[in-house]
């Protein structure tokens, strides 16, 4: 069972040959494949992380812009409401003024006509009173 012979050195040489062959056929190419895959995955991951950071940055930027434009829109709406109120107030004031003016003018015309009527009445009072006097006193005086 323990008979050593030339099998031993030949087996050692054979093993070394196998090692050289496997190194060339198996270990080197597959280790290279594993390393390549590792670096590929690592670079892809770095790339993806960079893209993710980029996307997050863009999203934040867009959100900021969105908030800014929303604020702007609110400002514009408030401004427009303000202006509209101002215009409405102006118009109201102008209309009230005009109405006042028209009323005053109408009043003045009324007064004038009343005065004219009174005046013409006063003129007629004399002639009428003379006529009345003539009629009453005519017979006695005449």
């Amino acid at each position: 069972m323990f008979d050593f012979d030339a099998t031993l050195p030949l087996m050692a040489i054979q093993f070394l040959l196998l090692m050289v062959l496997l190194n060339a056929l198996f270990f080197k190419p597959l280790m290279k494949a594993l390393d390549d895959r590792d670096s590929y995955i690592r670079s892809n991951q770095a790339d993806a992380q960079e893209r993710l950071a980029n996307a997050e940055r863009l999203a934040k930027q867009y959100e900021d812009e969105l908030a800014a434009s929303r604020r702007e829109a609110q400002a514009i709406v408030a401004n427009a409401q303000n202006e509209a109120q101002q215009i409405a107030a102006q118009r109201l004031a102008a209309a009230q003024q005009e109405a006042q003016a028209q009323r005053e003018q109408a009043q003045r015309e009324l007064d004038q006509q009343k005065a004219e009527a009174m005046q013409s009445l006063e003129q007629q009072v004399e002639t009428l009173s003379r006529q009345i006097l003539d009629k009453v006193l005519g017979s006695s005086v005449g």
């Binding site: 030339a6 099998t7 054979q14 090692m19 062959l21 496997l22 494949a33 594993l34």
Partner: protein
């Protein structure tokens, strides 16, 4: 006598037989070789090479089929080497430790899975290459050479300082360690694999059906463990030679 004749009927039963210590000798010049070991080891080597070529013939970024399997194997042996030698040192030693693991593992499992004994040889029988002491001693001596080489290439003659490092009193033990390491490596592997094959063979001899199956499954398990232990210890020894803190044995399994 009654008992012996009973046993004789069993050995005459043609399903299985035990042939330990017989070899199918090849003679080259005046060198003797164990032919059955070389035949099975060539089959194992062919399996490994064909699998490697198939896996790396068309390398994809997303692995499929055989490439996936071999990448799993590679990651497994890489983890063995990395755990023992550390992230920085393991790369140059990966082929050695990885080939150790793959060769021993495929050898052991070939012994457990391929019905070698159905192929008849003129003498001896085919079995896992690792059930021959020559193979395991060759691998263990290569491991010794590997860790000596690792120590010398890393630290030059300063490697010898590890023999007297904590205290010179331990010098004999430190020297003894260099002999016990390959001895324990080779005999552990040889003993486990041969014992497993013998147990399975004996059980098949006694009860040819179903009963040997649990032992065969156990054999698959121990075979894998032995491959793992051998390559892990090789890595540990190389690491020890590289780092130079002696006496830190990683335990015998």
């Amino acid at each position: 006598m009654q008992m012996l004749s009973f046993l004789d009927t069993f050995t005459a039963f043609p399903l299985a037989e035990l042939e330990v210590g017989k070899h199918f000798y090849w003679e080259i010049g005046n060198l003797k070789l164990h032919g059955q070991v070389f035949i099975t080891s060539w089959i194992v080597i062919t399996i490994l090479l064909v699998a490697s070529i198939l896996a790396t013939r068309n390398i994809q970024r997303v692995p499929q089929g055989i490439q996936n399997v071999m990448e799993y194997a590679l990651e497994f042996v890489r983890d063995i080497a990395k755990n023992q030698l550390g992230e920085k040192e393991y790369r140059p030693w990966l082929p050695f430790i990885g080939t150790l693991f793959l060769f021993i593992f495929v050898s052991n499992w070939s012994g457990a899975l391929i019905p070698w004994r159905l192929i008849h040889l003129p003498e001896g029988e085919l079995a896992a290459p690792t059930s021959d002491i020559n193979t395991t001693v060759a691998l263990a001596l290569l491991t010794s050479l590997a860790y000596f080489y690792a120590g010398f290439s890393k630290r030059g003659l300063g490697y010898f300082s590890k023999y007297v490092e904590p205290t010179p009193i331990l010098l004999p033990i430190a020297i003894l360690e260099d002999f016990t390491k390959p001895l324990s490596l080779s005999f552990r592997l040889f003993g486990n694999i041969l014992a497993d094959e013998l147990v399975v063979a004996v059980l098949v001899l006694l009860v040819p059906l179903f009963v040997p199956i649990p032992v065969m499954l156990l054999g698959l398990f121990t075979s894998a463990i032995q491959a793992l232990v051998f390559s892990t210890l090789a890595g540990a020894y190389i690491h020890e030679a590289l780092e130079g803190h002696g006496g830190d044995d990683h335990g015998e399994h």
